[in-house]
C-alpha cells in the first residue's frame, strides 16, 4: 500500500526526520489559509497523487503571493495529471500540499528498500538528487552508494559514515546527515515499510538536511500491525475493479489485450498470459481466482473480466489440486446463469476430478463454452476465438 507525500511527511515528523513545514488543502481558499499560517513569501503547491514525476507534469509549482497560491491550487485540484508513472490515463488530483519554500543548496537522493538477496534492508544515497534514480542506476551505478543494515544490530554510526563519505559531505555536514539517516531507518523498520524514497533530500544554506519529497510504500501483509497506516489508505488512488476483486479473494490486474484469463494460482496465471502472447494474442487481464475457488468466485471472475469491453474471448485455465475441477465446472454453469457471457469461453480443466468436470460441461451443452484438452490447445483456441477465427 502506498501513501501520499503529505502523509509520509507526517510520519517523518513523528520520528524526527526533518521536513519543511506544510499542510494539506482540498480547495483554493483552504490552500490560501495554509499558506497564510505558514507565513513567508515563497510557497510550493504540490499535487498529491500516488505517482512520481509530478514536477515535469505540472504538479509542483512555486507561488510568490497568497493570491498565487490560491489560483494555482484551484487550477491543480480536479486536473488529471499524466506522469511517466501514472500510465496514459493519468490520475485526478483531489488535494494539494502547501509547503514553505526551501533554501536549496544541494540536492541528494536517499532511499530504503529490502535487498532480497542479502535478506536485509539497504539504504541508498546519491549525489544525483532530483534525477530519475532508475536512470542514475543504469548510467552511473558508481554514483549510488548502498549500505546493507543487519537489523540485529540496527543502524550504526559506520553505516551513516559510509553513506556520508560516499556523498562527499564535509565534517560539519556529517552529523546532521547521520541523524537524518538513523531516524529514517527507524521509520522504515517500525512501520514495516516496503520502500521509502526521498528525492530530493536537500541541504539548505544553513547546513540542515530536509526531506523535500517523500514516498512511502508498506508491506500489505504487515498492515494489521499498523492501524494508523491503514487509516491513510486512499481508495481513490486504487483501481476500483482491482479493489472489487480483492473483496472476493480474487487478484485482478487489468491489461490492454482482448483475451480474458481466469486462472488459479499467480504463477499459472502469469504463465497463461505468456502462452496467449506466445500464440499471437494479447491478454486482457491477470486474474488469479486463488486456491479456494468456488462457484461464487468463478461467477465473480466472469463479471470482472466482462466489465472490460475489449474482451473478445475468455480462457479459463484451472489446474485443480485442492480445488476440484467439478466444482469449477459448476461455477462456470452458475456464472452463465448469473452473468450474460456473450463471448466464447475456452475451458481447460485438468487435475482433480477433471473427468467429472468435462462430463458436467458436456451435459450442460452451452453454446459459448468450448472445451480444451491442454494448456497449448486452450491458448490457441482462445486466441483464435478473439480474432474471430475459431470455427
Amino acid at each position: 500500500m502506498n501513501i501520499h507525500e503529505y502523509q509520509a511527511k507526517e510520519i517523518f515528523r513523528q520520528y524526527g526526520v526533518p521536513v519543511p513545514r506544510g499542510g494539506v488543502a482540498f480547495t483554493g481558499p483552504e490552500a490560501r489559509e495554509v499558506a497564510e499560517q505558514l507565513g513567508g513569501d515563497l510557497w510550493v503547491v504540490k499535487a498529491q497523487i500516488h505517482a512520481g514525476g509530478r514536477g515535469k507534469a505540472g504538479g509542483v509549482k512555486l507561488a510568490r503571493s497568497l493570491d498565487e497560491v490560491e489560483r494555482i491550487a484551484e487550477e491543480m485540484i480536479g486536473m488529471t495529471l499524466v506522469t511517466h508513472q501514472t500510465g496514459p490515463e493519468g490520475k485526478k488530483v483531489e488535494k494539494v500540499y502547501i509547503e514553505e519554500g526551501a533554501d536549496i543548496q544541494k540536492e541528494y537522493y536517499l532511499g530504503m528498500v529490502l535487498d532480497r538477496s542479502l535478506e536485509m534492508p539497504v539504504m541508498m544515497a546519491s549525489t544525483e538528487g532530483g534525477m530519475e534514480i532508475e536512470e542514475v542506476a543504469a548510467k552511473h551505478p558508481e554514483k549510488i552508494i548502498k549500505v546493507a543494515i543487519d537489523p540485529t544490530i540496527g543502524f550504526q554510526g559506520f553505516h551513516g559514515r559510509k553513506l556520508a563519505f560516499g556523498l562527499g559531505l564535509s565534517k560539519e555536514e556529517m552529523r546532521p546527515f547521520i541523524q537524518f539517516a538513523q531516524a529514517l531507518y527507524k521509520v522504515y523498520m517500525d512501520k514495516d515499510a516496503e520502500m521509502i524514497e526521498i528525492n530530493p533530500l536537500i541541504k539548505t544554506g544553513s547546513g540542515a538536511f530536509l526531506a523535500l519529497d517523500a514516498k512511502m510504500g508498506f508491506d500489505d501483509n504487515a498492515l494489521f500491525k499498523h492501524p494508523d497506516i491503514m487509516e491513510m489508505r486512499d481508495l481513490s488512488e486504487e483501481d476500483p475493479v482491482e479493489l472489487e476483486a480483492k473483496k472476493y479473494g480474487l487478484s485482478y490486474v487489468n491489461l490492454d489485450g482482448d483475451v480474458g484469463c481466469m486462472v488459479n494460482g499467480a504463477g499459472l496465471a502469469m504463465a497463461t498470459m505468456d502462452i496467449i502472447k506466445h500464440e499471437g494474442g494479447e491478454p486482457a487481464n491477470f486474474l488469479d481466482v486463488g486456491g479456494g475457488a468456488n462457484p461464487d468466485t468463478v461467477a465473480k471472475g466472469f463479471e470482472l473480466i466482462l466489465q472490460d469491453p475489449n474482451v473478445k474471448s475468455i480462457f479459463v485455465n484451472i489446474f485443480g489440486g485442492i480445488v476440484r475441477c467439478d466444482r469449477i465446472a459448476n461455477g462456470i454453469l452458475q456464472a452463465t446463469q448469473q452473468v450474460e457471457v456473450n463471448v466464447p469461453v475456452i475451458v481447460r480443466l485438468d487435475g482433480t476430478n477433471a473427468q467429472e468436470a468435462a462430463e458436467i460441461l458436456q451435459k450442460a451443452n452451452i453454446k459459448n463454452i468450448i472445451p480444451a484438452t491442454d494448456l497449448a490447445d486452450g491458448a490457441r483456441k482462445a486466441v483464435a476465438a478473439a480474432k474471430g477465427e475459431l470455427a
Binding site: P151, D192, V253, G265, M270, A271, M273, G291, G351
Partner: protein
C-alpha cells in the same frame, strides 16, 4: 533416492488442529507421510487425527523424534512458530502460511539459519517426494515417481509441470515449491546441488517468475556446478512493469527482475529455457534423449 524428505521422515504439524492444518495433515497421512503429532498451544495432551497434540514444539520433538515441521499457523504468528521450531532443534520447517509480514520472515530466517534449521516457503505448496512423503498442500496424485527433480516458485505451475513430465512417461523424484515471497527459505541455489548429488534424479526442472534475482544467481551456480540437464520456465514474460501479480515477490521495478533478463542468463548458463509453459514436459523428454 530423493532429496530432503522420504518415507522415513517424521513430521509434526504446527497449527495441527486448525481447519487448514487438519485437512492437509489428513491428506498427507493418506499419501503415506509419517505425521507423528502436532502442536497447538493449550491443547497438549489431546489426540487429533489419532496423533498426540503437544503444547510446544520442544515437547513434540522429545516425544516423537520428529525432524520436520509443517507450519500452518496464521500469518501474524508464523515467525514465532518458525523460531520455536528452530529453537526446538527441528531440521527443516515447511512454511505453508500465506501472508506473513516480510520483516517477520526476515528475522525468522536469520534465527533459523543461526540454529542450523532449513526452511521452505512461506507461501508455498511444500515439498513432496513422489510416492513416499508429501509435506504440503499439493495434490499428491499428480506426482508419479520418475527421474526428474522440480524446483518452483509457483504452486499450480508446479502441478502443471509435473503433469506434463508424467504425460511424457517420466516422473518426479522430489518437487519443492519454494514460494514467491521476498524472503524465502531454500532456493534454487541450495536445492540444485542436492538434486545434482541425488543418483535417481537425471534432470532438473526449475520454474521461476519475474521479480528478484534468485534465477540469475541460480544461472551462475548452474554454469559452474551442475552437470545434469536443467530445464527452465520463467513466468511473467508479458507482465507489465510495476504491477504486482499476485505473489508479493512478482513485481518488476525498473529494468531488474524481468523474465527476459532471467531467461538470457539461464540460456547463457546452458539451461534449456522454455518460452511456452506448454513445452516443459516435451523439453525434459528431449533433454533426456527420450
Amino acid at each position: 533416492m530423493s532429496i530432503l524428505v522420504n518415507k522415513d521422515t517424521k513430521v509434526i504439524v504446527q497449527g495441527f488442529t486448525g481447519k487448514e492444518g487438519t485437512f492437509h495433515s489428513q491428506q498427507c497421512m493418506e499419501y503415506g507421510t509419517q505425521i507423528v503429532g502436532g502442536v497447538t498451544p493449550g491443547k497438549g495432551g489431546q489426540t487429533h487425527l489419532g496423533k498426540p497434540v503437544f503444547n510446544t514444539v520442544k515437547d513434540a520433538v522429545e516425544a516423537t523424534g520428529a525432524t520436520v515441521s509443517m507450519i500452518f499457523v496464521p500469518p501474524a504468528f508464523t515467525a514465532d512458530a518458525v523460531m520455536e521450531a528452530a529453537d526446538a532443534g527441528i531440521e527443516l520447517a515447511v512454511i505453508i502460511t500465506e501472508g506473513a509480514p516480510v520483516q517477520d520472515m526476515m528475522y525468522a530466517k536469520m534465527y533459523a539459519t543461526k540454529q542450523g534449521m532449513k526452511t521452505i516457503g512461506p507461501n508455498c505448496p511444500g515439498i513432496i517426494t513422489a510416492e513416499e512423503c508429501k509435506i504440503g498442500i499439493m495434490p499428491g496424485f499428480i506426482f508419479k515417481r520418475g527421474p526428474v527433480g522440480l524446483i518452483s516458485k509457483s504452486g499450480t505451475l508446479t502441478y502443471e509441470a509435473s503433469n506434463q513430465v508424467v504425460k511424457e512417461g517420466l516422473g518426479i523424484t522430489t518437487a519443492v515449491g519454494i514460494g514467491g515471497d521476498p524472503i524465502i527459505g531454500l532456493s534454487y541455489k541450495q536445492l540444485l546441488p542436492l538434486f545434482e548429488a541425488d543418483p535417481e534424479t537425471e534432470a532438473i526442472v526449475m520454474i521461476g517468475e519475474i521479480g528478484g534475482t534468485l534465477e540469475i544467481e541460480a544461472a551462475e551456480f548452474i554454469k559452474e556446478n551442475i552437470s545434469k540437464p536443467v530445464i527452465a520456465f520463467i513466468a511473467g514474460q508479458t507482465a507489465p512493469k510495476g504491477k504486482r501479480m499476485g505473489h508479493a515477490g512478482a513485481i518488476i521495478s525498473g529494468s531488474s527482475g524481468t523474465a527476459q533478463e532471467k531467461m538470457e542468463a539461464l540460456e547463457a548458463a546452458g539451461v534449456h529455457v522454455v518460452k511456452s509453459p506448454a513445452d516443459i514436459g516435451k523439453t525434459v523428454a528431449r533433454a533426456l534423449g527420450r
